[in-house]
Amino acid sequence: MTKTLTRRDFLKLGGSAIGAVALGEFIPPLVAKAARANGQLDASDSGYISSMCEMCVWRCGLLAKVKSGRVVKLEGNPDHPHSKGKLCPRGQAGLMNTYDPDRVLTPLVRVGNRGEGLFRKASWDEALNIVAKNMQDIKQKYGPEAMIFSSTHNLSQPLFENLLQAYGSPNYGTQRSLCFNAMTVSNLITYGMEEPERDYSQLKYIILTGRNLAEAISNSETGELIHAIDRGVKLVYLDPRFTKTAAKAAEWLPIRPGTDLAFHLAMLNVIIGEGLYNASFVSQYTVGFDEVAASVGQYTPEWAARITEIPADTIRRIAREFAAAAPYSLAHNGWRTSNFVNSFQTERAITILNALVGNWGTTMFPVGTGTGGMGTPPQPAYPRVSAQRLDGVPWKYPFVPLQYGVFQQLRDSIVDEKPYAAHGWLISRQNPAMSIPDRRKTLEAFGKMDFIVTTDIIMNDTSWFSDVVLPEASYLERYDPLSMVGDPLSAVGSRAFLRQPVIEPQGEGKSAMWIYKQLGTRLGLGDFFQYKDEEDYIAQQLAPLGVSLNEVRSRGYVNLPASHQDIYKWTTSSGKIELKSTALDKAGFDGVPKWDEPPAPKSGQFYLLTGKGARQTQFGTQNNQLLHKYDDEPGLWMNAKTAASQGLKDGDKVEVTSDVGKIYVKLQATQAIRPDCVYLQPGFGHLSKGLTTAYGLGSSSSDLHVTYTDPISGGQALSQTFVTVRKA
């Protein structure tokens, strides 16, 4: 066989040839007892327990095979629409997160200097008291706004936000502005919802604008795309890289970075100019058609060809094909759309494109909303917050929803101490040391803090710089609240699936539900956490439905009452799809998308592109040995011809320099990228020596990324960093 993963590829771990699952040897009294009671485990504690994956945010259902208290295998839950019986590589490797030899097993308190990595073990009681005392002191001395709270998408997030609001801080950091703000804010303005559901069942034609579904895997959607292609659906794929998605496309268009907006404006130009739009849909369900038509008249395919480097005839043909396939076509709105300062308007053009040809009720549907009839524990009203937010929402970024925030601006305000100084930071299941652009500056922000506390299952890079580390139970070891239907990532028909422990926690790991309640109680905010334990919280959620927790534990989900949803109703101010946004207009932004030329690299510079590989999720999975086992070595992609012209060859160690940083990395000369771009997979280059598998692997794109914020959506422009590359 020619190019195989050779034996060498499996020696990366050197002496640590541990069997994948030959770890952990204790009997789990509580979990096993409960699982036996509801028929999931037999008398010898073996069988399958239903729960939910947390290796990314797609939230697949899983079935954990348990033998004598150990997870030995994970399978996709066939009942769950996001897994359909399958798990992606990350989901399959999930048990290695739980059995990671680098797990933090007890609370830790820093004894050395920050970043030195010296900690001592502490009891939960001591650690929680230290955290509560520091949080109280900060509140008394500087006000609650001096305390920063940050966390990333997860099922316990409602309780984290509860702690934030009960404490009274307006300062909340999420990953959203580093990810999908452009897409969701654009959808909110156009459709009044974060992300309409996509349906591939009747699809005939799809345009993916940088949505690399074959590598940035969303399990069920990736499967649906491949099956659609199998049926003969045409895929047009725009990306400066020939990704594994490009390899499946009927047409790959290596568009110039930052010009997706020009491509879509020209699509609108052709569809309107040639009368290819769905006139009855447009007149019945949309507002602002005339303004859009007047605005896009100038954006001919010939104009766009000069900007995008895609031939005018190709754009014209694709526009005609797309309209001909409507209403069964789809211009996918992407996911991590934080690319350029014009990404918001790019997203707007895509939403308008779908609306013009009437792809609604066929390939796009509204997401469900509401609580699904579930309850929540009672609690008092939150204290009024009067302080300004440090992240500029809404005073600098009026269109960014409070729950999204602008994380990179929050970091900058901490460094500048403007409009005021922050003194404490509570971080849950998040790694800003890796994720926010310009890492040097993020470490500077840590330096501004009197106190930092992190909860995670491993010693991530942010924990490494923390004063207290609280060990969380992994997703296989804990409960999370049942999620409400309104959460777009949980809108899986009329069922709410349960994450429940399938084994006992390693060491002293505790659930976020327990940790937040403990902290809340110690902060004198116990009234906001009126549940005895995790099971009591979920039982209170289930109470109005008349279903017992035990039933849900054994089935894995609860059926929610059917709710009628009007497909042709949008929660915008006009109640229709807003092709033109009056709100944007009033705020001085373009109410209909107009071309906005983003900066381009100078001669000798390259666009620095980043994007997921199939075996890692952002910044949290690189220490997973099973993923590491079958992953490719992270390197800097450069077009092979360009590399040759610069005297560089495959495997060379190169120095990559941006305006804010410098990294050293191995060069990967490839045909699969535009000559004016380089690409680096994010998530490598960890700082924490507590990550023994990931430490020393690759380099971090966050060391290079320059902070640029899209003024409308607050999205960080991650592809707007330009670098020079030379032999190291």
Binding site: M1, T2, K3, T4, L5, R7, F10, L13, A17, I18, G19, A20, V21, A22, V72, K73, E75, G76, G85, K86, L87, C88, P89, G91, Q92, A93, L95, A214, E215, I217, N219, T222, G223, I226, H227, D230, G232, F242, K244, T245, A246, A247, K248, P254, A614, R615, Q625, L626, L627, K629, Y630, N639, A640, K641, T670, Q671, A672, I673, R674, P675
Partner: protein, 270 residues
Amino acid sequence: MGASMTDIKNIQHKAFLFDATRCIDCRACMISCSVENNIPMNKTRIWVAGVGLKGEYPNLERASMVYHCMHCVAPDCLSACPVGAYSKRPDGPVLYDPDKCIGCRYCMNACPFGVPHFDYDKGLIQGAFIDKCTMCPQRIDIGQEPACVATCPTDALMFGERADLLKEAHARIQAHPDRYIDHVYGETENGGTSYLILSHVPFGELGLPDVGSTPVKVVSEEVMDITIPFALTWGAILTGVTIGVHAYNQKKEAAEKKLVDADSPAEETK
């Protein structure tokens, strides 16, 4: 001869169908296999093969394949093994018994697909020199799909009755003749394998060897079958030749002696 073409197509046992047009090279199958079979971190039973990227920017193609033991209908490893460590279950799996193995590595040389791998970390005392895919009997015996197949997010891997999968494979080719190479690799290769492959690029580019439809096993067995008659016949011929040559030499010697006697009478007298 071995099984005829018709026989190969109707073999009654389980098989895999791999479709390269559906594979996104995510490697969920590889991780699933590692966990299911408790494979150490520096070992594997399943590989990615193929040329990967082909062409020059911007005219590019990509093709890759995952593969493991092909579970041949007539396994060469089994036939090459001098101690009977290999067996073929009637329903498909080719199995290896570490207790019988003496570590001679004949199976590694015999397999045309390079599947059995030698474990250099284990010595004579520990046994189990060779490792390879088992078709997950622990799963298929209770009605589950093998670990690699069950998790495949794009259904690039499927599992079922070999005859059904062949039908499915040909139906896909027929539905999209522009998309596929018009051949199901493994249908006849090496006497038929239980890992059937559909591809949009020539099979050689996936790293598959160009083997005939007659398995090495059959060739070698046919040779073995005629060895004794061949040896006896050849022996008889050689014996005959020897006898003939000997007789001829004796005659010749006798004749020469006469000549010598006639030519050198003086010598005789000296």
